[in-house]
Amino acid sequence: MTSILSKRWLLVFIVALLIVAPIVAPSTQVLLTLALAKSLAVLGVIVLLQAGQVSFGHALFFAIAAYGAAFLGRSMGGGEILLNLVLGVVAASAVALIVGLFIVRYRHIFFGMLNLAASMIFYSFLEKFYYITGGSDGLSVPRPTVLGMALERAEFEWILFYGALLLVLGALALTHRFLTSPLGQMMRAIKTNEVRLEYLGVSSRRVLLAGYVLSAALCGLGGALMATAQGIVTPEYAWWIRSGEFVFIAILGGAGSVNGALVGALAYEFVKNYAAAFAADIWQLVLGTVLLVVILFAPNGIVGLSQRLGNGRSEKEEAGQ
């Protein structure tokens, strides 16, 4: 019981911190909004990690939704934020359904590589078809209305930040629920024994496909949010390093835990930004070193670390969520 308490406390503490952050330190607001958007994508990656599968191409869904928001906003002369988000999720899910039908046949390295290839194809497409996609400069995303209201930047950003926070909390809760449902439990079963799953009368491919679409939908939500917050989309959204970043954050936060997505994304953005600001020449070096240290010394990520420090929880309990 204490363990659950400590986990809740970590989340409550972070959320409380987030709520006051834009008031106390206004310059962090946009940074935090972006971190929240990323944490949604990371949550998607974590869903797949439950099944022991790692995608090095989930930036694909992030980018599809982001470009979807850009096209929508441009064609509507501004657009509406709710439409942006809904369209992002729908577009990402639809593509995931099609790509997924092929990709869920593969596991492990092949799964990772095929996702990578899919995202690189989309990346190349974004770069190549300049007259549609704006090439490497990307497309600007006009500031959408919020429930029909056109807002100034400052107000818009406040709403975006708190809206993003609500979305993330909602997504965390939903994902948590999903993972306790039969499909969610079977996602985790794919990791340990697909043969048995088949012999329970369950198609592991379909289970994985369900998880794949969910993970893409989360990435899509994150991508649409990111595009709206940034005001611009570029092919970089689909670049493999970004996919790697999502996996990186998932591990940093703690891959076994959905809360890890939020914690990891915040920690990552913090490290990356301050590394870029104060060690402009070597920020990749700093980031790489942090990653190495996490994997070698805290393979359960920040959430796992906080639990270990908190009350000496044994590792096997963590594996059970």
Partner: protein, 301 residues
């Protein structure tokens, strides 16, 4: 498309394939033995190129024979493989073989990030170019088109030598046999006295040296710039996955397919050029999920 253009496309494709093969074969060798997909492989390629270009620039400026360019490439490749690849395997990778695939890949990803900055700190950001080796070999005219002998003849010959050398080395030498044995069954190899840790180290050094050799050879034809490793690694992944993980001959054939596909694309439909490797990969895996030459591992129940 007439016969002449067809022939030209083949010539162009082959010399490109040669370089891709050299890098991909190192990656597939390392995967075959260590079962680690090494994202940092692209860094060895880049560092090999930087080392060759910078050292070459210095010694030729000092008036040494331009023919030294060729031994220099080999020396640079082996040095990079040993001095950078060696410690990475010995002090880092050797500690993560028991971890999940994901974590292993992320460790190499971290190494890749670190090495990217390492390159910048050592060589700066200005493109380097050192074409002495290429200029030494002169040009060849085919169908009225001038080619450098380096790209037309030398690179493919090196690639074939490496392919044959690796094959014979793995089959005929004791070290090669030990590597093959460890690849097939690490534990069984230990029980007959093979020092698997050493084999891992040697394999990693050989694989990293091959990537560095690819970079060293490329440095004569291309500008050595920051970020060159990132592009190469994604391409090598595509080659390795298409060929089947750990397949050496497969990597050669896939590299050739990708090289030819790419050059034909330039002639026929330039927009498709960058998509060619991935389309080939999807096409192959759709028909053969385990890759062109890969075998299926069935679960024993």
């Amino acid at each position: 498309m007439n016969v002449q253009l067809f022939a030209l496309a083949i010539v162009d494709g082959v010399s490109y394939a040669a370089l891709v093969f050299l890098v991909a074969v190192g990656l597939t060798l390392i995967f075959g033995v260590l079962r680690v997909l090494n994202v940092a492989h692209g860094s060895f390629y880049a560092i090999g190129a930087y080392t060759t270009a910078s050292v070459g620039g210095a010694i030729f400026a000092a008036g040494f024979s331009p023919w030294l360019a060729f031994p220099l490439m080999i020396v640079a490749a082996v040095l990079v493989g040993t001095l950078i690849g060696g410690p990475i395997e010995k002090f880092l990778l050797s500690r993560i073989y028991h971890l999940e695939d994901v974590l292993q890949i992320l460790v190499t990803f971290a190494v890749f990030l670190i090495l990217e900055d390492f390159q910048r700190l050592v060589w700066g950001v200005q493109p380097l170019f050192e074409a002495t080796a290429l200029n030494q070999l002169g040009t060849v005219t085919v169908f009225g088109i001038t080619y450098t002998a380096y790209q037309l003849i030398f690179l493919p010959v090196v690639a074939v030598l490496v392919l044959v050398g690796l094959r014979l080395g793995l089959r005929r030498t004791l070290t090669g046999r030990l590597i093959t044995a460890v690849t097939e069954d690490r534990e069984a190899a230990i029980t007959i006295g093979i020092d698997a840790e050493k084999v891992y180290l040697i394999t990693f050094i050989v694989g990293a040296s091959l990537a560095a050799l690819g970079g060293a050879l490329a440095s004569a034809t291309t500008s050595v710039v920051p970020g060159m490793g990132a592009d190469m690694i994604v391409l090598s992944f595509a080659v390795v996955a298409t060929a089947g993980l750990g397949q050496i001959e497969g990597a050669a054939i896939t590299a050739l397919m990708i090289g030819l596909g790419r050059s034909f694309a330039v002639y026929v439909w330039p927009e498709m050029q960058v998509l060619v490797p991935y389309l080939i990969m999807f096409g192959v895996l759709l028909v053969r999920p385990q890759g062109l030459f890969g075998g299926i591992e069935a679960r024993k129940i």
